[in-house]
């Protein structure tokens, strides 16, 4: 009698379940749509400028600026693909250089032959390869020296006994409160007194030890179980042997991260090399790129190629070791 108008409990349950499922499906698809929207915004904001600079480096200046309005796929895709900008930036199209370097002549001729270079020779007196080499060599030198001296300092703070050690640690950590950018003028005066201004050493010496790296490695070394040291002491190892055979092998992840961050810091550093080097022979890559903007007309093709040459190495290193970066940057808070 009543069942004709009233729904059974099972029916009510089923309807409620169906409604819940619809709500859940709606929430899920709303979530998916929002995620896609946020992805699109992130890609647009963070990727478009990079992509534009990268593809523009492979085309002529006319190709870049004529395809700007209206914006289409042609703005972002090098329809006139060529490598001339890179040859220019690396100084390979200078006729004086080509006359004395047969391999460069053959190299440029190869690109001309397959149609990716117009064969023009330009005398720009510009060779980013040299600047890249300065950045690379000073970066590697800083990383090696910094790993040697910061690791030994960290070993001192993490393991060795010394009267008043905590005061020495405070002396080191206090330097973290003084940002480098702010003492560039005084640092310049001191390095000038020491006679290193305008030499390659000016790019290396101030950075061969860093309180951030020392502190980070000290924490890393403190986490290594002391039993390992004791075992080595029982075997008759001295302090140096403990450092090399126990501590260093155990702290490889920390050392690699610190080395990477240090290298990236030196590679990207601008203010210090700007004031410390005026000699064009030892300009690091960032300063060399910025110096092109003092001229009457900016050689955009070469600028695009230069910024790609200066950025792609660090970006590739980063992409290869992404998770390494995330874990350790968060741990140490190291930057510069």
């Amino acid at each position: 009698m009543t069942t004709a108008t009233q729904k059974s409990i099972v029916q009510v349950d089923l309807e409620r379940a169906a409604r819940d499922r619809r709500i859940r499906l709606f929430n899920k698809s709303l979530d998916a749509v929002l995620t896609v929207v946020v992805y699109a915004v992130i890609t647009f904001v963070f990727f478009t400028p990079m992509l534009w600079a990268l593809t523009s480096s492979f085309r002529t200046v006319e190709g870049v600026f004529n395809n700007l309005v209206p914006v289409s796929w042609k703005t972002f895709w090098p329809t006139d693909f060529r490598v001339s900008n890179y040859l220019d930036a690396l100084g390979l199209t200078s006729s004086q250089y080509l006359q004395v370097t047969p391999w460069a002549r053959a190299f440029v001729a190869f690109w001309t032959k397959i149609g990716l270079h117009n064969g023009l020779e330009v005398n720009l007196g510009y060779n980013l390869g040299n600047n890249l080499w300065i950045s690379l060599s000073s970066g590697v030198a800083v990383v090696l020296l910094s790993l040697i001296f910061n690791t030994s300092a960290a070993y001192f703070f993490g393991r060795l006994k010394f009267p008043g050690k905590s005061y020495i640690l405070t002396y080191v950590l206090a330097t973290m409160m003084v940002p480098q950018q702010i003492i560039m003028v005084p640092l310049f005066l001191v390095v000038k007194e020491l006679g290193f201004i305008n030499t390659w050493w000016a790019l290396v010496l101030p950075w061969y030890a860093s309180p951030f790296v020392t502190f980070g490695l000290t924490q890393f070394i403190s986490d290594i179980p002391y039993e390992l040291d004791e075992a080595a002491i029982m075997d008759g190892a001295n302090l140096l042997q403990i450092l090399f055979y126990v501590i260093v092998p155990m702290s490889v992840p920390g050392l690699v991260t610190m080395g990477l961050l240090e290298f990236q810091f030196i590679w990207n550093e601008f203010f210090w090399p700007l004031v410390a080097t005026q000699n064009p022979k030892i300009l690091p890559v960032q300063v060399a790129i910025a110096s092109q903007f003092g001229q009457w007309s900016i050689p955009w093709g070469r600028v695009f190629a230069s910024i790609c040459l200066a950025s792609v190495p660090v970006i590739v290193i980063f992409l290869a070791l992404q998770n390494f970066y995330y874990e350790n940057i968060a741990l140490t808070g190291l930057k510069g």
Binding site: V71, M177, I183, V275, I315, G333
Partner: protein, 332 residues
């Protein structure tokens, strides 16, 4: 007992400089000495040198010539309008950048902390500007924002908005919009944004740095145990309540860390100003570090530049002390 006697030398037998322990201390000190020399020469002595240079008539060619006491500081505070403009521009830059970057980083951290396909890629995209140099970022954005050759204007023109020069002049659209605002609000906007250039510099430096803050906040989010959220869901808390009552309190330290480090680095802004605006138009983007650079290296007033460095150093030290107070270890 007899076997250990040669190793453990009695203190009164041997003078302290011949004791084994002294030799070990000396050997230990060698490990830290190179680093200590670096910190002394390249971090402490410059500050002492700057203090001295700020109290003396100093030039690169002739060195210290005459003691002038506090003249440089008095000049900065009482007789140098550019210094005050620089302080104003730096302060506006910090006030504009820090909350925006922290807020944006928090939003991006909450988003990229989810388990979804392609999230690693998104995180990578946000982080790529962090590993790129400020010079490259400034050049790329300088060109993107360029009135005639810029990508931004070409996108805007494609959808029918007239071009503006975002780097040196206020965009006419923006000016029109501000002029239509009610009187009171207009003054506030005109006070906060003296012109568009500083806002542009703020924007591009947030674009460059936000990934770094995001990564620290993501690490902080990963440290919050899921149990709390599960318990809150059982208690019927909605997303917003979970965010306010669980995420924010437990993210306090990473958030403070992000805010304080962003503030410290914001006070040191230099490259975008050097590369894009040289302090202009007018003095609207003449930030302190750029002003110090200009005084020291273009005007060859090293003594005055040193005094300005000391002033900025004191400002930053105050913030560092505040940081140490805010991030002090909690006793619990």
């Amino acid at each position: 007992m007899a076997t250990t006697a040669p190793v453990l030398q009695a203190h009164h037998d041997v003078p302290w400089w011949q004791r084994n322990q002294t030799k070990i201390y000396f050997f230990s000190l060698l490990f830290v000495l190179p680093a200590l020399i670096n910190f002394t020469v390249f971090r402490y002595i410059p500050i002492i040198y700057a203090l001295r240079a700020s109290f003396w008539q100093y030039s690169l060619v002739r060195g210290f010539t005459e003691m002038i006491g506090f003249d440089n500081y008095v000049r900065a505070v009482t007789n140098d309008p550019i210094f005050w403009d620089a302080l104003r521009a730096t302060t506006l830059y910090v006030i504009g950048k820090v909350p925006l970057q922290a807020g944006l980083a928090l939003a991006l951290a909450l988003f990229t902390n989810q388990q979804k396909p392609f999230m690693g890629l998104a995180r990578g995209l946000i982080f790529v500007p962090v590993v790129t140099s400020y010079v490259v970022v400034s050049i790329v954005w300088g060109l993107v924002l360029n009135e005639d050759l810029g990508l931004l204007n070409s996108i805007l023109r494609t959808i029918g908005i007239p071009a503006g020069d975002y780097l040196t002049n206020p965009n006419p659209i923006f000016v029109n919009y501000v002029n239509k605002l009610p009187e009171g609000i207009r003054h506030v906007v005109e006070f906060i944004l003296p012109n568009q250039t500083l806002a542009t510099i703020i924007g591009l430096s947030i674009w460059k740095d936000v990934g770094y803050s995001t990564i620290i906040l993501v690490a902080g989010l990963k440290g919050i145990p899921d149990v709390y959220y599960e318990a809150a869901i059982v208690d019927g808390a909605n997303g917003w309540q979970r965010f306010v009552n669980i995420t924010i309190p437990l993210l306090r330290r990473p958030l403070l860390f992000v805010i304080v480090t962003t503030t410290l680095f914001a006070f040191q802004v230099f490259v975008p100003v050097y590369q894009l605006t040289k302090g202009g138009p007018g003095r609207s983007t003449m930030v302190l570090v750029y002003y110090i650079y200009r005084q020291g290296f273009n005007m060859a007033e090293m003594g005055y530049a040193s005094a300005l460095s000391i002033i900025l150093l004191l400002i930053v030290l105050c913030i560092s002390v505040l940081q140490m107070y805010l991030l002090r270890p909690e006793d619990d």
